[in-house]
């Protein structure tokens, strides 16, 4: 087990700056999820940790050991690949034992660990099969087992669930969490899937264009997004943004079809009367209220069963709101009146796109 420290990591591929100065400290035993859109550098960051990429500058520390220039085999990390990368000519048993044999682990110890992993992941019946004779879910398990058998100080996961179908993904997600609770080893998990990010992480690191956009416990990041990027990346459907003006009372923002109160204490000293801002409200935080400050015109309704999403406009700005599935659903063209709680109203600077409070 080990803590992981990244200091000012930079990496450029050709003309493209992939990592633009990443500083992160991951505590021993923490489950950290690196999340971001494709091209944000999350996979490169993980590969740099594994030793598969060399940074242009900066440092990688495992525990207090500087491994920046060490090859992967000297790092005591294990990685689960998106493609699983099982050795095609080896049985499951030999796949699990591969890393241990390379490290000259005694046969008895190898047998013990393989048996333990097989039991932990319920793959004991697959031990003599070749990768090609297994389903995607089974291969995924073996790939995870191969990492676990190594008993590394850090686990690295590179989008391990993206080749599984939705049902299986939900199931394996829970299993990964269980494995972490059992082993209590540092795990670093890369994904672009916000559900995986929210459910698995002790700490979420949102990356954008090679920099850390925000980090923190997932719920905190969700509730207090530091930028419009983070706000729109987490949550589905994404947060609505409307260009608005701060009212003279410094407690409301107004725009065409919109007049919402915000948490005056949170934004005190950070906004001024008449200031142009971007207001962010999540679809789930908006509710129908006869005297609400939002005038919403419905274009399309998507019923999901227990809830429904109405897509429409506030003023001229596209807007989505969640409706209760048990209520009578509105028809296209209907005007709804709605409101949002003060603490669910986020205010961003329209130029820097950073949160103001």
């Amino acid at each position: 087990m080990a803590a992981v420290t990244l200091r000012a990591l930079r990496k450029t591929l050709g003309e493209n700056a992939i990592l633009r100065g990443i500083d992160l400290h991951l505590n021993d035993g923490e489950f950290v999820v690196l999340v971001g859109p494709s091209g944000c550098g999350k996979s490169t960051l993980l590969r740099t940790l594994a030793g598969l990429e060399e940074p242009d500058s900066g440092q990688v520390l495992l525990g207090d050991r500087d491994v920046t220039l060490r090859p992967p085999r000297d790092r005591d990390v294990a990685m689960v690949f998106q493609s699983y990368a099982l050795y095609p000519h080896l049985t499951v048993r030999e796949n699990l034992a591969f890393g241990l044999r390379l490290r000259k682990t005694p046969e008895a110890e190898i047998a013990r660990r393989v048996a333990r992993v097989a039991e932990m992941l319920s793959i004991a019946s697959l031990l003599d099969r070749l990768p090609k004779d297994m389903s995607g879910g089974q291969r995924q398990r073996v790939a995870m087992g191969r990492a676990i058998a190594r008993e590394p100080s850090v686990f690295l996961f590179d989008e391990p669930l993206s080749n599984l179908d939705a049902a299986l993904r939900a199931q394996v997600r829970v299993e990964i969490k269980k494995v972490h609770q059992t082993l209590k080893t540092t795990m670093i998990y890369v994904t672009h899937d916000q559900v995986e990010a929210m459910t698995l992480a002790d700490r979420l690191v949102v990356l954008s264009a090679g920099t850390v956009e925000q980090e923190g416990p997932p719920l905190e990041v969700y509730r207090r997004p530091a930028s419009m990027f983070v706000a729109s990346f987490l949550g589905s459907p994404a947060m609505n943004f409307v260009a608005a003006t701060v009212a003279p009372d410094l407690a409301r923002v107004t725009a065409e079809g919109l007049s919402l109160g915000f948490d005056a204490a949170r934004f005190r000293g950070k906004v001024s009367a008449g200031q142009s801002v971007m207001v962010g409200v999540r679809p789930h935080d908006v509710s129908r209220r006869p005297d609400g400050g939002l005038r919403f015109t419905v274009d399309v309704v998507e019923p999901m069963g227990f809830e429904a999403y109405a897509h429409g406009r506030v003023g001229e700005t596209p807007f989505v709101m969640r409706l209760d599935g048990h209520d009578a659903l509105p028809a296209p063209g209907d005007q709804l009146s709605a409101a949002a709680d003060v603490d669910s109203v986020h205010i961003f600077d329209p130029v820097t796109r950073k949160a103001l409070g």
Binding site: V77, M79, S83, Y84, Y87, L130, K132, D133, R146, N163
Partner: protein, 284 residues
């Protein structure tokens, strides 16, 4: 009813064409077989591709051929062919495998130039170099030797093997060797323990092609070999149809004997020819 009749017609026509094509391809082969089994030894002017009399006289004559000193020539020449072809396959694949891996995986100065130069050698008809090669082999005292022939064959087989194997290595996902390296392997161990086994079918096919090219090659062998006991089988075969004598029956029997080992090898490695060994290693 009508569409069905049309379908039947199309079916009949396509089968007729296929049968005709097969007959066209098989006819000369059957002729050779018939010739080999015909004790008269000269081609009879008839169209039917089967012999009137069945006899193994020609085969016996070819297999038991010996020279004036009483040396068993056929055995000697068979050994020459086997050794030269195996060595050609071994040398070219041994050199091509690491080279192809480097060309598939690493970016280095001169990489593109190297590929172009290799391609250029493939454009050049091998026979065109017969004269300079003769001079070189003569200087090296390698005329009339197996080693000389292997050297010449391997240099022509190598670029082809390189292209074949580079394609095969490029098809192997990088993830596999990266997984091995994270698991504790050096780059070399990852290559030997993971990449090579995954490339086994391609290596087998490349070996086979190099072997076959050497096994069947005639022109260069006939140029560089003059001692009967140094001949490879194709050269020996050709001598049956000489200026003063045309022993077509023995020639045909020899031709069949020469092709049997290649057919046997093909049969043995066809399991490897079917790809899919990497199936299941990556993606679901």
């Amino acid at each position: 009813m009508k569409p069905r009749r049309i379908a039947w017609g199309v079916e009949f026509l396509s089968h007729a064409i296929a049968v005709a094509a097969v007959a066209f391809a098989l006819y000369p082969v059957l002729w050779v077989v018939s010739l080999a089994l015909n004790p008269a030894g000269t081609p009879a002017p008839r169209a039917a591709p089967w012999p009137e009399v069945l006899s193994l006289v020609n085969f016996r004559a070819v297999v038991s051929s010996s020279n004036s000193a009483g040396e068993w020539l056929f055995g000697r020449q068979l050994l020459n062919s086997v050794l030269v072809s195996s060595a050609t396959a071994a040398v070219s694949v041994l050199i091509a495998t690491p080279a192809a891996y480097a060309l598939a995986r690493f970016r280095f100065v001169g990489e593109r130039t190297a590929m172009k130069a290799l391609l250029a050698t493939q454009m050049f008809p091998g026979v065109a170099t017969a004269v300079p090669l003769y001079v070189m082999l003569d200087t090296l005292k390698l005329l009339d030797t197996r080693a000389g022939l292997v050297l010449v064959y391997a240099t022509t087989a190598l670029p082809f093997a390189l292209f074949q194997l580079r394609g095969a290595f490029e098809a192997i996902p990088r993830d596999l060797e990266e997984a091995a390296m994270v698991d504790g392997a050096t780059r070399w161990q990852a290559f030997v323990l993971v990449v090579l086994p995954a490339a086994r079918p391609a290596i087998a096919v490349t070996c086979l092609f190099a072997f076959m090219a050497a096994w069947n090659e005639f022109i260069l062998a006939a140029t560089f070999l003059s001692r009967e006991s140094a001949f490879t089988l194709p050269v020996a075969l050709q001598r049956y149809v000489g200026e003063y004598d045309a022993a077509w029956g023995r020639f045909a029997a020899g031709a069949i004997l020469v092709s049997v080992p290649v057919m046997a090898i093909f049969y043995a490695v066809q399991r490897h020819l079917v790809g899919g060994l990497t199936a299941g290693s990556v993606k679901g």
